[in-house]
């Protein structure tokens, strides 16, 4: 019976229920598959490709691939982690990731994932994008220069019933998050700090005002434990 609902992640059996993706099941079992655009509460977006695993030599996104019985999934192999490191390097140079001055540092999933994968440097040339920041809202600051286009804000805001954030545009430089108001400013929406969307950004784009840097260095979320350990602990508490 149990054989019918088990797949193997790097040789370890992972139980799953019908319809679960590889990443969902692994996450629930406290096993870490690197990911950035996936969040347990939302539909897989499949854009960051950090969760790429290998099944029979084929690379697939774990967040968007259904688990099936007996599947042998390779996850933390040196080859896959090399590819993930390169994806991270590309994400870093496509934005302005000046961690020392970023309020999200220490609690940022992009940064924590780069630590997990031992990313020492950016390798590629930097784009240094120049996207406007939006400080119009009394409680929240937006700095899209750090956006990794994961769409989680869009999904969360849809769940809030507010549709404040919408993915728009095309292409590497054209694609962006748009604020859904006539002026394009956050202040002219009904966005509130209590919204799901205010708390979902994995990087330092959607930031609460007046709380930045309030957790001392060394005690921030991913100072305490690497992301792989932190997520396993959180999953076991759920």
């Amino acid at each position: 019976m149990s054989e019918e609902t088990t797949f193997f992640l790097d040789g370890e059996p992972i139980p799953f229920t019908a319809g679960q993706t590889i990443l969902q099941a692994a996450h629930a079992a406290g096993r870490y598959i690197p990911h950035l655009c996936w969040h347990p509460d939302y539909k897989p977006h499949g854009s960051c490709r950090l969760c790429t695993v290998s099944i029979g030599g084929r690379s697939v996104p774990a967040c968007a691939t259904q688990a099936s019985e007996g599947l042998e999934v390779a996850n933390r192999t040196p080859e896959l982690d090399d590819a993930r490191r390169m994806l991270l390097q590309m994400l870093f140079v496509e934005g302005n990731h000046f961690c020392p001055s970023c309020e999200k540092s220490g609690q940022c999933l992009l940064q924590a994932t780069a630590y997990e994968l031992g990313m020492m440097g950016p390798h590629f040339d930097h784009f240094y994008p120049n996207r406007p920041v939006d400080a119009s809202h009394p409680d929240v600051l937006l700095d899209f220069n750090r956006c990794i286009l994961c769409s989680l804000c869009e999904q969360a805001s849809a769940r809030d019933g507010k549709f404040v954030f919408v993915m728009g545009g095309r292409g590497m430089r054209g694609r962006k998050v748009i604020i859904n108001s006539a002026s394009g400013r956050l202040a002219d929406t009904d966005f509130a700090l209590t919204d799901r969307a205010a708390n979902v950004c994995p990087v330092g784009v959607i930031l609460k005002k007046r709380v930045g840097f309030s957790v001392p260095y060394g005690q921030r979320r991913y100072d305490r434990a690497p992301v792989s350990v932190a997520q396993a602990q959180e999953a076991s508490r759920e």
């Binding site: 000046f98 540092s105 020492m120 440097g121 930097h126 240094y128």
Partner: protein
């Protein structure tokens, strides 16, 4: 022990704040252990002005002006292994946050329009001054870099772990407690 040739290390600060050099001093009494293995060539610690043939070059700071380019190339030419030390050398760091601003606007703001300036203050134009670049760049965009040691600054412990790995001939790695970008 004395017949083992000591490794030669050079260090410099380009567009950096010297925080990484201060952090190097934070390896504290391990400096004595280090000095049994290495000797310093050009570095602010020796005040030697030109870089000779070296095994390891440690570069703090990004590239913000013509002199930075010159020094960086001198290091690359003379050092077998070049290391980008700290956030500024790795990705431009805080100085690169001027990259989306117009250079002339910045110079005017700093030297001509800010409050508290002396009457008649103007943008310095002495020919001895290195020309600023339009943008600040990490050093790997100018020369080949062999290793990156991130952090703002990397902690003394991170520098120590990195250097001991490198000197022992291992690929330097930093675990969870030592790898920081901030």
């Amino acid at each position: 022990m004395n017949d083992v040739r000591k490794l030669r290390i050079a260090t410099t600060s380009l567009a950096g704040c010297f925080g990484c050099h201060m952090s190097l001093l934070d390896i504290d009494e391990r400096l004595f252990t280090l000095l049994e293995l290495v000797e310093f060539d050009r570095t602010p610690l020796t005040d030697i002005k030109r870089c000779g043939a070296c095994d390891i070059g440690l570069i703090e700071g990004g590239v913000c002006n013509a002199e930075n380019v010159h020094v960086l190339r001198e290091f690359r030419k003379n050092c077998k292994i070049l290391v980008a030390v700290g956030a500024c050398a790795v990705n431009g760091g805080l100085p690169a946050q001027r990259n989306h601003l117009d250079l002339r606007d910045i110079l005017e703001a700093v030297y001509e329009t800010e409050g508290g300036l002396a009457r008649g203050a103007h943008i310095p134009n002495d020919p001895e001054l290195p020309l600023p670049l339009n943008q600040v760049h990490p050093i790997h965009e100018v020369v080949k870099v062999d290793y990156f040691l991130p952090g703002c600054p990397p902690s003394g412990d991170a520098i120590w772990k990195f250097l001991s790995d490198l000197i022992a001939g291992r690929t330097p790695t930093l675990g969870h407690d030592l790898l920081h970008y901030d």
